[in-house]
């Protein structure tokens, strides 16, 4: 249910923001450029150091006496380890030690929990479960020596026949993979369901039209520019660990380390996790990888700092994958195109262990938002997860926990339904959208959509592309036998996890935090429980504080990622930073405005009620010359504060969101396809996003550009491919195709603004919308182009070969 915004006090600065923004859909700035609050395209504060090559990433950290670690990995997907011979490796100059699973077993550190409460080997003692799994670690005085040592470790394996196909994994008689789990008799992990099964069956049985499509959302990888790594620095004398690591959630990681290593004396106050600059996370830097744990164990045993940095292939082959859902999607409706019900059945391939990174109570993440942007009240969804001999994972790759999979399913099946009832896909969507006035709206799976104006978004994008003219052009081209397609995606996202009632990770509630300290001269430092990986937090958070408090964003230093200094929070992923920590910043700043009012009243010798406020200053009603600026007020808080009032000027807030936020978007993609070669040319791509109030338009645009490029990636290029023996066939970037500037079309972006009614600044989050919304727009455009030949579906990535083959099969060429 919707809980009212905590901002009910009249005269609240938050209310003022609302009124200004709601006046119309344009971005209006309430603050001057000098203050640069919300709505200003302020240049990113962090860029200066990145552009000068002065960023500080994990691999830049060098400590005296530091050792280097490299990891021996399994060539087999499933094999018994007969022996590990380290003799030759120990002869390599510089090699100090080789650590195996048997070594870690002595300390009880050879297993660790996953974020989904499954278990995972740190290093194996007898069996390897996927190709590229960690088998042993070589510790040396230089990185080169560690790599040479790795080459010299001899491991004798006895290969076994792996289980690769998730459907075969569930068949009776399939070999049971997790023999480490006592009593485990199959490869099934969990079953999940949502919605009303019986009601859905009834609607389906009675519907005029039912469409059904099997689709595969392939296994892909986040491929962040920076791979994963760490420097573990344990001091024996102080019994203190400093862990520099590539993590999106430093606080949660500290707690996990304390839980795993508490029994050897590493308790939480003795652990400091520092997440320095991060070169892209996208969900891949949420999980705990064995490499981190081994580095900690080795530093703990040797007392020396240990650095571990993955190479590109290790990152691609062994780190958490994303997606890998096999979905059967069904839609029922009337013959004139009214959607009545949907049904989704999922088979989730989790690889060796469930190492996804979802909130605890949501094994399929927020897939259940997949009923879409359409007004109907009946749905049923179910999922089963299985183990296979593939790397573990299932991370939320730039999407709020499986929303990409959900949106692909609903937006594809909506197009298939439109085709079946003979309606234009844009018209069908317009007729089925939830109406603006029906928000807050309860979805068939129980979510309360906070706000939205789907008709406005779709109308805007149709106007920008000139939809009717395009359909006319398409008809003419079709008459000449040419292939042109127009694809739509009108999606609803669900971000900002999340309300503590439902959302936790390993029991820790998914609030987030902000702490603002204003120094006597009126400049501030603000610290957060989140962690930017390129999102621009140092700028946007400063702008939020500036908006509320009126201190120029330029004078607000934002700091994140150090568990010794930042307030506790669950980190940055799932577009949650603005909805949670951004909100916390606004509330904390509001607490400071309340304190400033008291000081201003004292200084101006009037009652608090006689004061007027605009960000940056108070003045006496009717006497604007009697003014105190925020800087004067802050100085007084340290030099001349009212007796009885606490000195200083600081505030902290832990924000527990009352609901999630529901950004939306309307995207149109236009493709031209070369019939003879299957070559696909994306002619235009227009994305209209609605993320509520926009904090920094330039940063939002940058986020959307990046997200769209990571949306075209799985739609047309990326898929991790395994053969029957579990060998990855594209384990390097030579074969795994990441789109570059060459493949990326010119992204055209725009927005509508429908503020979130429950968020303090009406913002919704935008980082992931384009990744979620782009793939179905592209797929729908390609299928639309091919539809004259009876082609109704192709699984992503849709490559020229797939197109050519489909056309060949249909006799079109």
């Amino acid at each position: 249910m919707i809980v009212d915004s905590p901002f009910t006090i009249d005269n609240s600065p938050i209310k003022i923001i609302y009124q200004l923004f709601n006046a119309n859909n344009m971005i209006q700035c309430k603050t001057s450029k000098a203050i640069s609050g919300m709505g200003h395209s302020m240049k990113r504060k962090e860029d200066a150091r990145f552009l000068h090559g002065k960023g500080n990433f994990v691999d830049d950290i060098k400590l005296p006496g530091m050792l280097y670690m490299d990891i021996v990995r399994s060539p087999y997907a499933y094999a018994k380890i007969k022996s590990i011979n380290i003799e030759e490796a120990m002869k390599v100059p510089g090699v100090a030690a080789v650590v195996t699973g048997k070594d870690l077993e002595k300390y009880g550190l050879h297993w660790m929990p996953t974020l989904m409460s499954d278990t995972q080997m740190v290093l194996p003692t007898d069996t390897v479960m996927y190709q590229s799994q960690e088998v042993a670690a070589v510790i040396a005085t230089s990185r080169y020596a560690a790599r040479d040592g790795r080459e010299a470790v001899k491991v004798e394996y006895e290969p076994m026949k792996p289980v690769i196909d998730p459907y075969k994994s569930l068949e009776p008689g399939a070999p049971v993979l997790r023999t480490d789990k006592p009593g485990k008799k199959d490869n099934h992990i969990w079953h999940w369901q949502a919605g009303d099964k019986e009601k859905t069956e009834k609607v389906f049985a009675e519907a005029d039209v039912v469409v059904k499509q099997q689709m595969y959302i392939p296994r892909i990888h986040v491929v962040s520019i920076e791979t994963c790594g760490c420097v573990a620095d344990y001091h024996k004398v102080n019994n203190h660990l400093t862990m520099y690591m590539t993590t999106q959630a430093p606080h949660a990681i500290r707690t996990v380390i304390a839980l795993v290593a508490g029994h050897v004396g590493l308790t939480e106050e003795k652990i400091r996790v520092i997440s320095p600059d991060i070169g892209g996370g996208f969900g891949g830097k949420v999980p705990v990888y064995p490499g981190y744990v081994i580095a900690i164990a080795v530093s703990f045993l040797t007392g020396a700092p240990v650095k571990w940095i993955e190479d590109r292939s290790e990152n691609l082959q062994a780190d958490s994958f994303a997606r890998d859902y096999h979905i059967t999607a069904e839609m029922a409706g009337t013959k004139d195109g009214k959607i009545q019900a949907t049904r989704f059945k999922i088979l989730a391939d989790h690889g060796y262990t469930d190492a996804a990174a979802n909130p605890s109570k949501f094994p399929v993440g927020l897939f259940s938002v997949g009923t879409g942007s359409y007004d109907y009240d009946t749905a049923f969804m179910e999922a089963d997860a299985v183990y296979t001999n593939k790397p573990p994972g299932g991370v939320a790759y730039r999407c709020s926990f499986r929303v990409t999979e959900a949106v692909q399913a609903i937006e594809r099946i909506t197009d298939i339904f439109a085709k079946k009832v003979g309606k234009d896909p844009a018209q069908l969507r317009m007729e089925n959208f939830i109406k603006k006035e029906d928000f807050p709206w309860k979805s068939p799976t129980g979510w309360i959509y906070d706000s939205g104006d789907y008709h406005a978004g779709l109308k805007k994008v149709m106007d920008v592309v000139g939809y009717d003219a395009l359909r006319k052009e398409q008809a003419e081209k079709r008459a000449r036998g040419e292939l042109m397609g127009i694809g739509l995606s009108t999606f609803t996202e669900i971000v900002g996890a999340g309300p503590s009632k439902d959302f936790d990770i390993l029991g820790i509630k998914m609030f987030d935090s902000a702490e603002i300290r204003v120094h006597p001269t009126g400049k501030a430092i603000a610290r957060f429980g989140t962690k930017s990986q390129g999102q621009g937090h140092e700028t946007t958070y400063a702008q939020i504080v500036a908006e509320v408090l009126g201190i120029p964003a330029e004078n607000i230093q934002v700091e994140e990622g150090d568990t010794d200094t930042a307030p506790y929070g669950l980190g940055t992923y799932a577009s949650r930073s603005t909805p949670t920590a951004g909100a916390a910043a606004a509330v904390a700043a509001k607490k400071l405005v309340d304190k400033a009012r008291k000081i201003a009243a004292y200084l101006l010798e009037v009652s608090e009620d006689d004061l007027e406020w605009e960000p940056g200053k108070f003045w006496v009603k009717g006497a604007p010359e009697k003014t105190k600026t925020i800087q004067e007020i802050v100085f007084a808080a340290y030099t001349n504060h009212p007796q009885g009032m606490e000195a200083g000027f600081e505030a902290t807030h832990y924000y527990d969101p009352p609901n999630l936020t529901f950004p939306s978007g309307a995207y149109i993609c236009i493709v031209d396809i070369d019939k003879e070669t299957g070559g696909i040319h994306v002619r235009r791509f227009v994305a209209i996003d609605d993320c509520g109030h926009i904090i920094n338009p330039m940063i939002v645009q940058g986020q959307v550009h990046g997200g769209l490029t990571q949306g075209i990636a799985p739609a047309m290029y990326e898929e991790l491919i395994y053969d029957d023996d579990g060998n990855i066939l594209n384990g390097t970037l030579m074969d795994y195709l990441v789109p570059t500037a060459v493949e990326s079309p010119k992204w055209e972006t725009g927005h509508t603004v429908t503020p979130s009614p429950h968020h303090p600044i009406g913002a919704k989050g935008v980082g992931e919308s384009p990744t979620v919304g782009a793939p179905p727009a592209i797929a729908n455009a390609i299928i639309d182009a091919l539809s004259p030949y009876g082609i109704t579906h192709l699984d992503i990535p849709i490559t020229p070969f797939k197109v050519w083959k489909a056309l060949k099969e249909k006799g079109a060429i």
């Binding site: 060539p75 087999y76 190709q131 080459e151 010299a152 470790v153 001899k154 491991v155 004798e156 394996y157 290969p159 292939s313 082959q317 053969d723 023996d725 060998n727 990855i728 066939l729 594209n730 384990g731 390097t732 030579m734 074969d735």
Partner: protein
Amino acid sequence: MTTSINKSFHVDHPVDQVWNNLTDPNKIVLCVPGAHLTEQVDENNYKGGVELKFGPVKAKYDGVITFVERDAMGKKMVLNGKGNDSKGKGNAEMTMSGQLTEKDGGTDVNVTMEINVSGMLAQFGSRLINDVSNQVFDQFVSNFKAQLSGGEVDSTLSAGSLVGGVIKGIFGKK
């Protein structure tokens, strides 16, 4: 992953001479780049190894070579070799079938190689594996021809030329 290559070529030598070379382990193994024999176990089984170096990746397979079939009448032979990389980077198995047919006083040779690799080499991806296998096969054919004519056999595998050849092959494709 499995890769299969089939090639036919003609040599001017009489079929019996070609058959003798093809079925003599000491001669045929010499034609396979990087391969060597270490020990004869019995009439049909031998121990040996193959060393391969593709750019940065070195693999050394120690294993067993077996004549599965040597049909002197039908001039058909099947040779199987399998081995594990000595450092645990994976395994490889190759089955080579040869069929000889007399033609114009010379011999038509038809050879099929089925190669199955796991581990490090498989990670190259099918594209590179195919090209590398083709290169190895071409070198085998030219060695085999040279040997029949009494010429020099180059059994070393040049990493530079191999990778260079593959890259040329990839970019030269039409």
